[in-house]
């Protein structure tokens, strides 16, 4: 599973939250690919995914969170997806 965090450099919210979000994902997803993308460097891809606000999070190329989720929200989403596999 691929999780992508779109951020703007200097985003304090992202810096505070990303480690706990990544740890949450690592605990739940065995084949995790975690990517942190500077939206300005990856603008075309961000548009393709549908990112309109920052920070945002996509799972397997699908925009799932248009703002940063809490670890609990992410856990719920990942559990739902793992259950479907």
């Amino acid at each position: 599973m691929k999780i992508e965090l779109f951020y703007t450099p200097g985003c304090e919210k992202c810096a505070h939250s990303k480690d706990s979000l990544k740890a949450t994902a690592e605990r739940l997803v065995p084949d995790l690919v975690w990517r942190e993308l500077n939206a300005l460097d990856e603008l075309d891809y961000a548009v393709e995914v549908g990112v309109l606000t920052l920070p945002a999070m996509a799972i397997n190329g699908e925009l799932v969170f248009s703002s940063l989720p809490t670890p609990r929200q992410l856990r719920r989403e990942l559990t739902k997806r793992i259950g479907k596999v």
Binding site: D44, V47, L54
Partner: protein, 132 residues
């Protein structure tokens, strides 16, 4: 220094109605009145109208411009907050451009389906495509 609404309007190429609207919406400070009853605006109002116009040229709506003006006045905000807003606006514009490209390509296909300009309207493939 104060300026009448007419002078600001002509200097900045906006209508007086627009300036009154900005004032009603709180985007520029309230005007004082001259003895003759004319609205008078100070230098800050002129600066804010310039700001609004420039931001509109970059695609910002008045609601978004209000947020930018609030950011500018905020002690807690810094340049990266403004940069994030600008980047989000760029993402929105690029998404619109992408959607419009798709529309344009769809129109290309529809135009290509209509090769006979003299055909009756009932047989028009473009109108038929919209009916589907």
């Amino acid at each position: 220094m104060t300026l009448t609404i007419g002078k600001i309007a002509s200097a900045l190429k906006v209508s007086t109605d627009t300036l009154r609207y900005y004032e009603r919406e709180g985007l520029i400070g309230p005007a004082t009145k001259s003895r003759g009853g004319y609205r008078l605006y100070d230098h800050d109002a002129v600066r804010r109208v310039r700001f609004i116009k420039q931001a509109q040229h970059c695609g910002f709506t008045l609601t978004e411009i209000r947020a930018l003006l609030d950011l500018r006045a905020s002690d807690a905000a810094c340049c990266r907050d403004v940069r994030r807003v600008a980047l989000e606006k760029k993402l929105q514009l690029e998404a619109k451009i992408k959607a419009m490209r798709v529309m344009s390509k769809t129109l290309d296909r529809l135009i290509a389906t209509c090769s006979d300009e003299g055909r009756r309207l009932d047989d028009c493939p473009i109108l038929a495509a919209f009916d589907r």
